[in-house]
């Protein structure tokens, strides 16, 4: 039993923390869908003015909400917050490379789009 408590202390988390994180994740997902409904859905026409003001930031807000969810899962469920720093660095390093790959490919293809798709610059 002492070992169980030690393991819990080692990970700094127990059932109560996991429940709180689950609630946060669920709320963030609901906010994502709500944001879409307010901006583009047909079921919330009463919030049209709010939707119009949020619409220019739709993508940024979605990515922000996703980043929060990603952070909570990685830090608490994957225990990165409590495990050795090497693992955090390993994961962060791979995420940086992955982000650079996505941005580089998007930049490259957007720049050259006219060459490869009809109706482009060339």
């Amino acid at each position: 039993m002492a070992d169980a408590h030690a393991a819990e202390h080692e990970h700094g988390s127990g059932g109560a923390t996991y429940v709180k994180i689950a609630v946060v994740l669920f709320v963030l997902t609901a906010l994502e869908v709500l944001l879409y409904e307010v901006c583009y859905g047909e079921s919330m026409t009463g919030l049209a003015s709010l939707g119009a003001s949020l619409e220019p930031y739709f993508v940024e807000l979605l990515l922000l909400l996703s980043a929060f969810k990603f952070w909570f899962v990685a830090m608490f469920y994957m225990h990165l917050k409590f495990d050795m720093k090497l693992l955090s660095w390993l994961f962060t390093f791979s995420l940086v490379i992955a982000s650079v790959v996505i941005l580089a490919l998007l930049a490259l293809f957007t720049y050259n789009r006219g060459l490869w798709w009809p109706g482009g610059l060339w």
């Binding site: 039993m1 070992d3 169980a4 393991a7 819990e8 127990g14 059932g15 996991y18 429940v19 994180i21 689950a22 994740l25 669920f26 997902t29 994502e32 869908v33 944001l35 879409y36 901006c39 583009y40 739709f58 993508v59 979605l62 990515l63 909400l65 996703s66 969810k69 990603f70 899962v73 990685a74 469920y77 994957m78 050795m84 090497l86 693992l87 390993l90 994961f91 390093f93 791979s94 995420l95 490379i97 992955a98 982000s99 790959v101 996505i102 490919l105 998007l106 293809f109 798709w117 009809p118």
Partner: protein, 208 residues
Amino acid sequence: MTSTTATLAGHDGHAAEAHHTSLPIENRKLAIWVFIASECMFFATLISTFLIYRGQSLKGPLPADIFEVPLVTAGTAVLLFSSFFVVMALNGAQEGNRRKLITWLSLTVFCGVFFAGMQVYEFSHFYHEGLGYSTNLFSASFYTLTGFHGAHVTMGTLWLATLLKDAIKGDLPAGKALNLEIAALYWHFVDVVWIIIFPVVYLMSLRS
């Protein structure tokens, strides 16, 4: 760096000689993290491909014609809850609480099956709506990205199901909790990939 040979003492009192390692971390745990790092780059290329081809299809069906947000939202919620369930199962395994382990792990496996089933239903529905793999750029990039993710979910579900079988047989004591921790790390990674896919593929595509 000085090499060390660690001895892991299990919570059930059994001691197990760990693999020879020069780092203060179990080799299998480091290996799954390296694998997860490589998977990040794998999914980065698939997400890039989807984003590059977004809005470039010359004929339909297009995302706005076929996507069903409520269904996918339900699938997303189930996958998020499965991450919670597996971490509770791991908690049970580390405590040596077999009943807690089996209960939460069963729920995790059920969620995995539900999500895979949701994706099979979604794909077959899209196919009957006229969206084959080679119908347009959207379909090819969509099926490739979500299909690979679905394959990862299926593999993860099978992995967790084998651990559930071990737990039921009593072969997953606290001393072997690392077996579940490694599978749980993979499962959480599958979850965080979906956390990216859900807004980028579904919600942003509906907007365009």
